[in-house]
Symmetry: C2
Subunit: 332 residues, 2 copies
């Protein structure tokens, strides 16, 4: 069963992909489907004996280019759609044991270029409205393959969280005439010395890219990485910005791994301009890469429970300024 | 630091309560703060030597009746508010080793009455806009105290998830003239034999209360428990409905524990009418108790990762009709 079903009580789509229940689950290095194929071993997803970065369709996709017809008949109340979309895998390295954080900046720059290329290509596909590159890292976040890799989803509509952000940006634009992310970046930079928000939250910055713990961090060690200039999406970044983004992403992830002395699990995701053509999204879209690490201490996780899951209301235990102070020294 | 900070990029409030970082964490039964006090032992939250159900203020609250002033100065971009609200604990039993699922129906009926009473009382408090009784059960969901208990949060505004539901209900009402939950209940009941939605999702029903796996279940074994009649909130239930609700909640939780042969972790939460007076919420509010168990198999959890967390777009591995078929036999 592969289909999308509409929730009329919350105005959102849920995707069902029951074949994913059987997806490969934490195989040993010997059985890793993302390693280069080797003579005498079972074939893998990558035929080359060595590679730098490869992208291919996810073998257990939530969304597919030619999805099967839905199992159930739609009704006026219960709408159903085929699970159209794209799910791609981005393998970062042919070294099974490395991690995004340990890649050289040049390799991460190549990954940034791959993201930009896939955002442009998938975004130009009819029916794809939003392209989101992301990485789930660590078993605490549910990773089923440990080989360093990320994913790119091409959604058939703007997903609920980015849609919420776009509505907020539209409201801010209507009120102030400015991009809310541009305002946040300016406030964070102004706030370093004696800003109105009370404290330094910047953990790292270059001339074109800034990394900070947001004023409203929902996760204790949340970090946002944002181009200083108004850039709606990855393809809009120039060479210098891509270099800086790669270097900042490397330092942030590398710094994370020094926070508690182990590879910190995280969700990393790029939010950007929708790729549908229904309106001019440029003024309200400002690329930002969000890191959400689930740890609140070395031993304890922040769980999404009653207030967060049922309420959507986050309660956080760590002051953003304190988290930033702790991270700042690790990310230089 | 106890304060609420506004996220202008997503139009939502995040609550910071850094004292919670030190809250009691999985104490042994000997040190349980929710057990009755015993002579010669350290005092607990409950002075009585025995009790049925008790409610008291959470010692590590996210929201407080008289919160301290915020640490940071607000700015036009970064709004800040005191963390006003209420956080209560509902202890279900003086037996440390029991669980909601193992309580007799009469005790659960008492808990339902306690919820209704607290919804009425907290909801009448100026500044409280939404009262949500919930229970987090199991270490997989991050529970820090194993003694059977739930919580009640009195929020200063309608939290994002219920707000989204209310907007969807308003849109449905405007389009059809009807309550969306009434329509869903009717469709589920009509669909038992040969409904348009393709299959039976009801797991349990009485004359006044129905339990079903929603057509759009975001979690594999999600169950919603809903009064058949249009009842905006817990205090609106009559005696027969409260009896039925208690019995259905008992059977659902008890059935859950038979699903994989262990006490199934879950988040249980009641969504209902806001308690603010800004508008007539009755037509768009229909009480529903949602269960979100994180397990997708006995061994595997459904994690909220890139698509769910960063996108807000759920991908589910289990067909709701199959989950319902499996649960139905366990909940009779």
């Amino acid at each position: 069963m592969t289909e999308r079903r509409y929730d009329p009580t919350a105005d959102e789509w849920v995707t069902f992909a029951t074949h994913r229940q059987d997806r490969t689950y934490l195989p040993s290095a010997d059985g890793c489907p993302l390693c280069p194929a080797r003579p005498g071993r079972a074939p893998t997803e990558v035929a080359s004996p060595a590679f730098q970065v490869v992208v291919f369709d996810n073998r257990f996709p939530a969304f597919a280019p030619a999805p099967p017809p839905p199992d159930v008949e739609p009704s006026p109340l219960f709408a159903v759609r085929p699970a159209f979309g794209r799910c791609e895998v981005v393998v970062y390295s042919d070294d099974h044991a490395t991690a995004f954080a340990d890649l050289p900046t040049a390799r991460i720059r190549m990954i940034v270029d791959v993201w930009a290329d896939r955002v442009r290509t998938l975004g130009a596909t009819p029916g794809i409205s939003y392209v989101m590159p992301f990485e789930n890292r660590g078993e605490a976040i549910g990773v089923t393959l440990t080989h360093p890799h990320g994913q790119i989803y091409g959604y058939p509509e703007v997903p609920p969280r980015p849609a919420r952000e776009l509505r907020a940006a539209q409201a801010h634009l209507a009120r102030t005439g400015r991009c809310v992310h541009c305002d946040v970046v300016a406030a964070e930079r102004a706030g370093r010395a004696d800003g109105p928000a009370g404290g330094p939250r910047i953990v790292l910055e270059t001339e074109t890219v800034i990394a900070f713990v947001p004023f409203w961090a929902r996760f204790p060690y949340e970090v946002h990485v944002v181009p200083v200039a108004h850039r709606p999406s990855l393809p809009d970044l120039d060479d210098a910005e891509r270099d800086d983004l790669a270097e900042v992403l490397r330092r942030v992830t590398h710094g994370y791994d020094r926070l508690f002395g182990f590879r910190l699990p995280y969700v990393m995701a790029a939010h950007a301009r929708p790729t549908d053509e229904t309106q001019d999204w440029d003024p309200v879209s400002h690329l930002h890469v969000e890191f959400a690490p689930p740890h609140r201490t070395a031993e304890k996780l922040k769980y999404l429970a009653g207030s967060e899951l049922a309420g959507g209301a986050f309660v956080t235990d760590v002051a953003p300024e304190r988290a930033a102070a702790r991270l700042r020294g690790l990310m230089r």
